[in-house]
């Protein structure tokens, strides 16, 4: 491992740190849950890249299964959360209002 490689990996780590901070800020202020889901996907990709850097620096390949698990986790998390949101809003989306004359709140009365 020579100096050029160390400098390049250090720059990559610094960029990933800034990226993680920006994305965590979006998770904190995100106005809706969908913003937070998208931002959490980006965070998972950043963590995968950080594990890649740690593998390249240390030379141990114990991080490879972690990369595999994280890539599956981001997908299932995003799909599950979007299904949850569309399911919980199913009675009030405009797609339900296309049933003729039916507006939300009418069934409550």
């Amino acid at each position: 491992m020579n100096v050029v490689e160390i400098v390049l990996l250090f720059i990559a780590g610094a960029m990933l740190t800034v990226a993680a901070a920006l994305t965590l800020w979006r998770i904190v202020i995100g106005p809706t849950a969908l913003d937070r889901i998208v931002a959490a996907d980006v965070v998972i990709a950043i963590v995968i890249a950080a594990i890649g850097i740690s593998i390249a620096v240390s030379g141990f390949d114990t991080g490879l299964p972690m990369m595999l698990v994280l890539s599956l986790l981001g997908f299932s998390g995003a799909v599950a959360m979007s299904r949850l949101i569309s399911g919980s809003r199913m009675d009030s989306t405009l797609y339900q209002r296309r049933l003729e004359g039916r507006t939300p709140g009418e069934d409550d009365r």
């Binding site: 996907d41 980006v42 490879l64 569309s86 507006t103 009418e106």
Partner: protein, 146 residues
């Protein structure tokens, strides 16, 4: 005098740095872009390309068969699952009208929505509300008398 291993190490580190730059661009877009659809557009594509570059860099630094199998698996999973999850998120965002309609130039689904019987003012009210998808209070009154 540089050997092949050192050249591969430097090229791999360069790949990892470029991949980290793509992840950084996706993160900047998370902060600066206006709504869910724009952020998702910026998040998925550079993110997938960045992760693929990082994985290629890891393989160039540690070229062995177990690394190759794991990294191929992770790359294939990223390429297959990223369109599915972004499709689900975009579908949910459109149906919940959680997108900035004033910044949209073309809404190709608008005619489809209107063709299903949603009135123009109901759609406009739902889009104006943003996160709220319920129609405004006065929009409900005509049908409540029946």
């Amino acid at each position: 005098m540089t050997t092949l291993t050192e050249i591969l190490d430097i090229v791999g580190a360069l790949f990892i740095a470029v991949g980290a730059f793509f992840a950084l661009s996706a993160a900047v877009a998370q902060v600066r872009f206006p709504d869910v659809l724009a952020r998702m557009h910026a998040a998925t594509k550079p993110q997938v390309l960045g992760v693929l570059l990082v994985l290629a860099g890891v393989f160039l630094i540690m070229p062995s068969w177990p690394t190759f199998f794991f990294l191929t698996l992770v790359s294939a999973l990223q390429l297959v699952t990223a369109p599915i999850s972004s499709h689900m998120v975009a579908r949910t965002a459109y149906r919940a009208t959680e997108w900035a309609h004033e910044t949209v130039v073309v809404d190709e689904l608008r005619d489809e929505v209107l063709a299903t019987g949603v009135s123009e003012e109901n759609l406009r009210a739902a889009l104006l509300d943003g996160t709220a998808v319920m129609p405004p209070e006065e929009g409900r009154k005509p049908s409540s008398g029946s």
